[in-house]
């Protein structure tokens, strides 16, 4: 029996209430398993100390999500299980990336205005940053203030990027987050994860980190998100300078509000030590890949701690558009079985719950390969491809590197006319233009080669 059929029978056999009870306990198990078995820490005592610092913030982030309107409640999980999984995937990725640089398949030297990939990886910093990277989802931090025109619309530059307001001193204007605006909270969370590291500097130092390592962790937390950090291209020196400006702005805003307990961030080492900044490039890419490598499953937990149940048998797999695929889909959250109403929430959960495993390795050809396992290649193909696109986007954020993405299907029972194969072939052609430094390998390629 294939996965698809098994899944349908399993879900149809249970009432929604029963699903909630059964899967609540499995979620607890999942988190325990993650904490105990998901990865072997290179620095267990330091990691434990970091978890003691950061775990309360993740608990707060759950409460914030519960209290926010639909958007926060339904947001994909960004709490402790996610932090642990991200850490495991990040540690795997950073080793692969380092090896790739050493073997010359990622550039270890950079042209003018660029930053190379580095190999002076600080594993304690990487682990600490990965464990800390989403604490900013706890809210109550700062947000970059968007410039608005006379009509009240956000100003965009010629590249479509949001334009922000500046203070007279040249720093960015920031304002306090309103936790009721979940979109703002989410958009600025990497910013505030960095802030939380800096606020807790003495606790991280007590865990064994130096001042320089605390700054290093803060910059990795900041850079794990492309938009708010400003580091759209990890190999762009200009982008990093923008990121440091934003860190300075964050420190300034916080210290204006907390003159009795000021924080600090020292940007000079990152600007002057080429090896250090190159290492940050490699480490940041590892965290971005680790972050997006969400090994999901049916009835995955949302940010509110509730389970999101998708009845995949109700998806119109042949819909031909994201909207059409999920229009008839039954999708509910929580013990009460509240329906997911918004298109984006439905799309994201339908897509992400179909991605069950991610890993990175150095291919036989020496190319850094990110493997994505899809449970059912014939279920919600466009929603699934949209989720895969997020992975491609992270690899595209290191534009001086060449990467491969290998998509694996656990189950793939195509129609006679090859509808689903065609869909993934179309996706690959579009991705070739959107993400030119990423090659996509599909299971059908081997059939053609043989």
């Amino acid at each position: 029996m294939n996965f698809r059929k098994r899944n349908r029978i399993f879900l149809q056999a249970l009432s929604l209430a029963a699903v909630s009870v059964v899967l609540s306990s499995s979620a607890v198990f999942s988190e325990q398993a993650a904490e105990n078995e998901i990865y072997e820490s290179p620095n267990p005592a330091m990691a434990e100390a970091v978890r003691e610092i950061t775990w309360p913030y993740y608990e707060t982030s759950r409460e914030v999500a519960i209290n926010s309107p639909e958007l926060g409640r339904l947001f994909t999980d960004h709490k402790t299980a996610h932090a642990l999984l991200t850490t495991a995937k990040t540690l795997e990725a950073v080793q692969v990336l380092k090896e790739a640089v050493e073997k010359g398949s990622l550039p270890g030297t950079a042209k003018q205005g660029h930053v190379a990939f580095g190999t002076s990886i600080d594993m304690a910093v990487v682990e600490g940053a990965a464990l800390s990277h989403d604490t900013g989802m706890s809210g109550s931090g700062y947000a970059l203030t968007e410039a608005v025109d006379e009509a009240g619309n956000t100003v965009k530059d010629e590249n479509g990027s949001t334009v922000y307001e500046y203070l007279e001193n040249g720093l960015y204007a920031l304002h306090h987050e309103d936790n009721s605006q979940f979109t703002e909270l989410r958009s600025n969370h990497s910013f505030n994860s960095a802030l939380i590291v800096l606020i807790n500097r003495e606790r991280y130092k007590a865990a064994g980190y130096s001042d320089e390592q605390v700054d290093h962790m803060a910059i990795l937390c900041m850079a794990h998100s492309k938009s708010t950090s400003g580091v759209r291209d990890l190999n762009s020196r200009e982008d990093w300078l923008l990121c440091f400006d934003r860190m300075d702005s964050l420190v300034y805003a916080y210290n204006q509000d907390h003159p009795d307990a000021p924080i600090s961030f020292e940007r000079t080492p990152f600007e002057q030590d080429e090896d250090l900044l190159a290492a940050v490039v490699t480490e940041s890419l590892a965290i971005r890949v680790g972050d997006v490598s969400r090994d999901s499953h049916p009835d995955a937990e949302a940010q509110s701690g509730e389970l999101v149940h998708i009845d995949r048998s109700t998806i119109d797999d042949h819909g031909g558009s994201i909207e059409a695929e999920i229009e008839p889909m039954t999708a509910v959250i929580g013990e009460e079985g509240d329906e997911l109403l918004h298109l984006k929430d439905r799309q994201v959960h339908a897509g992400e719950q179909n991605i069950t495993m991610n890993r990175m390795y150095l291919g036989d050809d020496g190319v850094v390969t990110h493997e994505i396992t899809v449970a059912d290649g014939c279920s919600a193909p466009l929603c699934t491809q949209s989720s895969i696109g997020d992975h491609l986007g992270e690899l595209y954020s290191a534009r001086d590197g060449q990467f491969a993405v290998s998509i694996v299907f656990e189950s793939f029972e195509d129609d006679e006319d090859g509808f689903f194969r065609e869909s993934y072939e179309d996706f690959r052609m579009m991705a070739a233009q959107d993400y030119p430094n990423v090659t996509i390998h599909l299971p059908f390629d081997e059939e053609e080669e043989s």
Binding site: G160, R186, M429, P436
Partner: protein, 127 residues
């Protein structure tokens, strides 16, 4: 239309072009419609790709029918941060992707490696 560079991987190849006459959203939409209207072209669909917010909640990517008119494309672009217009279809039986980067107004044609013989016809027909 001058070919400027190409990128080839194990499965597909993408060819990039400059064309001074494609320099605005209007002319970009017109180029896509021209590609969709090529003789022996069966247009599939047109994607408006929000590349700025790939993974964000506010992603504004949307899909139009491959036979959309330039005015319909422009209407769909209105107020959105779309980075690329992309058309997929079949040209003389081979899968072909046509894209315009709306920032640099760079044109791109993607073909499967097995269909590269079609490129010269595409370049001739689009010239």
């Amino acid at each position: 239309m001058i070919r400027t560079k190409e990128a080839k991987d194990a499965s597909v190849s993408t060819f990039y072009y400059e064309d001074p006459s494609v320099n605005s959203r209007e002319t970009a939409a017109a180029w896509i419609v021209k590609a969709a209207s090529l003789a022996e072209m069966q247009p599939g669909y047109i994607m408006l790709r929000d590349l700025e917010n790939r993974s964000e909640e506010g992603n504004q990517s949307c899909r139009l029918t491959g036979t959309a008119k330039a005015e319909e494309i422009l209407e769909a672009l209105e107020g959105k941060s779309i980075g690329r217009i992309f058309l997929i279809g079949r040209y003389k039986g081979g899968k072909a992707g046509f894209g315009v980067d709306l920032t640099a107004f760079e044109l791109a044609v993607t073909l499967r490696n097995g269909d590269l013989a079609l490129l010269s016809d595409i370049e001739r027909d689009l010239a």
